[in-house]
């Protein structure tokens, strides 16, 4: 039997075989290991922040430290986890396989993307240590403070520039891969929906990220050479910075969620044992979300001083983007209806996702409408909203994907029962942590504030306790998966009865994925002809 990609020894042996690999599967794992590390650092910062918020006034740190913590928590979570997240790990690992290809279009460029990610990450960490101190501007780097502050903004924005490049190159690679490397017979509309999600995302990565790149570069140039672009003392307009920043950062949230939604479209048909309902609308809605996502950035600036006309325009456009998302949720639920439900951990995560993402999405409408936004903007309401959609959205699905594809990636099965418990505790902790924030925001608690009035104390208390429950859930999930790596229960090629191409090759896959490039004749979710394996465990003989 052919060796798996994990054991394969090619031109480079041992650790070099990983650090110099061009195999998309190994690169996916390189991203996974680095990303989980940075995620846990980000979680730690979050826990520390919540500890500080346990009581009004000083609890465990001074205000400057708190400012740096929430800045770094944002930078690490957004740039090192959520944005690269699903595409870098699961896109890299599974896109070529789902298309019936042996690798991505530009394997060496793929490795470069990972190195840029690592370099950017180290630059972020370096900005913590150099003189000047950790950045304290908020992850949004608003001017004029980001130009004036002595903290290491220059290093941090250059780090984000490098990370942006990593994202751009990944998007570029995926676009060409999808155009050029689909298996014979796989037309665009026979492609799995995960690929459609990645394709839409790739176009956002490609076109929006450069705008952030130039904006951050300009911050660097202003700080270093005093060029005079955004600095109001030199006639510059700080609002133009905000425009340029959000021109990227709003589409960025669709980079975060579209691949995750693609994963949901994979998991639901598999565990409902049913063809997806509305393949074409779901595929088209991915493109629609990507497109409309470019039109709404001003809703982050409703109280910044932009013109009333533009506020009305942006508010109207913001309502539009809810429509294609609704299309997806409707089609997912319709797929589950009258399906033969196999209730496993991946599906549980997806159920949690649908609930929390819907809450997050609906509260987005509160923020998108001008008259209500005035009251809750820059309060904890916003903080709750974006954690519900980003963490509850992308984060939950990251865990779902990890469980769904774990058998394929590692050839072993994790403990299903522990995974379900982990998911449940995670879900409870998540809501305990973030739901009170909606109420806090409504009551007037501002975001990024170190101190607060006594009337907010009880809700902060619940929220901080929620953070401990959440972390417990995360620890259970992660430890369970790590133990699964050493499990004696080997995974068959198709433990769930999936119908996409990755389930037709061994677990774990061999280096070149396919012995022979498959010829595709049917759609990706046709379950009538699917070959289902029972998840029989194959226990080692000694």
């Amino acid at each position: 039997m052919e060796e798996s990609y994990l054991k394969y020894q090619g031109k480079h042996k041992g650790i070099l075989g990983w650090l110099l690999t061009t195999d998309h599967k190994r690169i996916g794992l390189l991203y996974l290991i680095s990303m989980i590390t940075f995620f846990l650092v980000g979680v730690t910062f979050g826990v520390l922040m919540k500890l500080e918020m346990l009581t009004p006034g000083r609890t465990i740190m001074n205000p400057e430290t708190y400012n740096s913590l929430f800045t770094l928590h944002g930078v690490i979570m957004i740039f090192l986890f959520i944005i690269p997240g699903v595409p870098a790990v699961f896109g890299n690992f599974f896109l070529p396989i789902q298309l019936g290809a042996k690798d991505v279009a530009f394997p060496r460029l793929n490795l470069l993307s990972w190195y840029l990610y690592i370099i950017g990450a180290f630059m972020v960490l370096a900005s913590l240590l150099f003189s000047g101190g950790p950045i304290d501007t908020g992850w949004t780097f608003y001017v004029p403070y980001s130009i004036r502050t002595a903290s290491n903004v220059s290093m941090a924005v250059l780090a984000a520039f490098v990370l942006g490049f990593s994202s751009i190159l990944t998007g570029l690679n995926f676009i060409v891969t999808i155009h050029r490397l689909r298996a014979p017979g796989m037309s665009w509309f026979k492609m799995p929906l995960f690929a459609w999600g990645l394709y839409s995302t790739a176009w956002i990565q490609l076109l929006a990220t450069p705008v952030l790149g130039i904006t951050l570069l300009l911050i660097f140039l202003e700080r270093t050479f005093g060029v005079g672009i955004f600095d109001p003392a030199l006639g510059g307009d700080p609002l133009l910075y905000q425009h340029l920043f959000w021109i990227y950062s709003h589409p960025a949230v669709y980079i975060m969620i579209l691949p995750a939604m693609g994963v949901v479209s994979e998991i639901i048909p598999t565990f409902a044992k049913k063809n997806i309902f509305g393949y074409t609308p779901i595929a088209m809605s991915s493109l629609a979300i990507a497109f409309v996502g470019y039109l709404v950035w001003g809703h982050h600036m409703f109280s910044s001083g932009i013109s009333d006309t533009s506020r009305v325009v942006f508010s109207l456009l913001t309502f539009l983007v809810a429509i294609p998302s609704g299309v997806k949720v409707f089609n997912w639920v319709a797929t589950l209806y009258k399906g033969s439900i196999d209730f496993r951990a991946p599906l549980l995560f997806v159920m949690v996702f649908i609930v929390v993402f819907s809450i997050g999405g609906l509260t987005g409408l509160v923020l998108g409408s001008l008259n209500t936004d005035i009251h809750v903007t820059d309060t904890y309401f916003v903080v709750a909203h974006f954690h519900y959609v980003m963490f509850g959205g992308m984060g939950t699905i990251f865990f779902a994907a990890l469980h769904y594809w774990f058998p394929k990636m590692f050839g072993r099965m994790y403990n299903e029962k522990v995974a379900m418990w982990g998911a449940g505790i995670f879900a409870i902790g998540f809501n305990l942590l973030y739901f009170p924030m909606f109420i806090l925001g409504y009551m007037g608690m501002p975001r990024r504030y170190y101190d607060y009035l006594p009337e907010f104390h009880n809700l902060h208390l619940i929220s901080t306790i929620g953070s401990w429950v959440l972390v417990t859930g995360i620890i259970i999930i992660v430890v369970n998966l790590i133990r699964g790596l050493f499990s004696k229960e080997f995974a068959p090629a198709n433990p769930w009865g999936g119908t996409t191409l990755e389930w037709t090759i061994p677990s774990p896959p061999p280096l070149e994925n396919f012995d022979k490039i498959p010829v595709v004749t049917k759609g990706p979710y046709e379950h009538e002809e699917a070959i289902t394996d029972e998840t029989k465990s194959i226990v080692l003989e000694n």
Binding site: H179, L207, L239, H243, Y294, G298, I306, S307, V313, F314
Partner: protein
Amino acid sequence: MNNHITHTGENYGLYIVVWLGLVALTLITVALAGFNLLYLTVVTALAIAIVKSLLVVNYFMHVKTDSPVFKIFIGVSVATFIIMVILTFFDLTFRVPIK
């Protein structure tokens, strides 16, 4: 099986003609700068620049004769940029000064 397309028999003349057009347009745009056209200044300057770019893109970069997918890629990107400009200008154009 390799995908390589062997091109042969390229016509130099067309490139030279395009170049002459580009130089002519450059001289025209410089000449026009001497006139005071008020707000039309920027419109004509941009229009000429766009024509020049289209010449470079279609003939020097072969987009005219290449697969349509490249035209779509370019179109989507330019459209995205234009949308960014338009929506930003909704803000800039309608700001009410505080006086």
